[in-house]
Amino acid sequence: MWSDILNHSAAYESAVLTALDAGSYPFSLRCRPQWDNTAQTLRLNLPAGIVLEPGPACLLWHRHDARLWNLHSFAVRGTLARDETGWYVQPEQFIPGVGVGGWRSYVRFLVNGRRTTRRYLAQRNLARPKLDWDEFGQTNTTSSPGFGIGPVRQGGTG
């Protein structure tokens, strides 16, 4: 897992850290995690005035270009903690996202998506919805309306 984090985060300047605040709401901010290879933790320099609760946390790295193309993302789940040096995240799970894992990952994304869709509909006795592709074309909106571009989920997280 540590090598995955190193390999994939090297190209990023920053990540999004999320932990819970005092009211147990998620609180996210941009940060620049620093690798601690010895401890295999991600060191964080959090801005003053931001109060996060030590405990469960998530780091997300993602990028896209100006056309919302060339997507890449992955996440790390772990624990946010603090010691005498400062804040850090102890990684516990690497979650590959879009653009991680090559064509095999894309095939898995399609197969898993179709399978999960079938299961979702079957469990609720719902017919498979028909998509009106013609309307889609006529409205000139053939891109991804409300496209979720989150990590291709592999494994039972969330």
């Binding site: 901010l29 941009r30 946390a57 997300l60 179709r114 999960t116 719902l126 909106t141 053939t142 309306p145």
Partner: protein, 184 residues
């Protein structure tokens, strides 16, 4: 070209923050999982100014976000990546709030309120202008077959509870915070 700002009827926030909601392609949405652990995804948000709410969509083939929200409605949306927005030095904005998930499955544009549908079409048109290849892609029978599930979606509606923003994305400054007491 930036989207025309639709007058915000519910949130007392500056124009610079509204511009972020209208023009950022993505936000980082966090839900809380079964074990109380946050998980964050990049998503395309749709701001609904007439209601002061946000709508995000997730395929029923990727339903974990919806399952999480049904179990724990507390979510956050961070707007921190301005790529493609054409905004100069926008604020970083964090929205904390509660979310609800529709039971109804939305297929492409069907099954949603006209006002929301119009907003979605504006967003999609903007996207199409930047991604002309997508039109060809979605006309292809094979890709339609392989990806149709992606367009069978659940709508996640987020009602803000608190909005924080850091002018010019500068964390050295203290954030401004707007508590939201009333959402339509």
């Amino acid at each position: 070209m930036l989207l025309d700002a639709i007058p915000d009827q519910t949130l007392a926030i500056p124009e610079s923050v509204t511009a972020v909601f209208h023009n950022f392609f993505t936000c980082e949405m966090t839900t809380i999982g079964k074990t109380g652990r946050p998980i964050t995804w990049p998503l395309m948000p749709l701001y609904w100014p007439q209601r002061g709410q946000f709508v995000l969509f997730t395929s029923i083939g990727l339903p974990q976000k919806a399952f999480n929200v049904r179990q724990d409605p507390r979510v956050s949306l961070l707007f921190s990546d301005a790529t493609g927005s054409e905004l100069t030095d926008p604020p970083i904005v964090l929205v904390q709030g509660e979310a609800q998930v529709s039971d109804e499955i939305i297929s492409l544009f069907s099954g949603m309120e006209p006002e929301l549908r119009d907003l979605l079409k504006v967003q999609a048109s903007k996207m199409l202008a930047r991604q002309p290849a997508m039109k060809l892609y979605m006309k292809n029978g094979l890709t339609r077959y392989l990806m149709d599930w992606y367009f069978m979606r659940l709508a996640i509606t987020v009602s803000p509870r608190r909005i924080h923003w850091w002018d010019a994305g500068d964390y050295a400054r203290l954030p401004q915070v707007q508590e939201v007491n009333h959402v339509v």
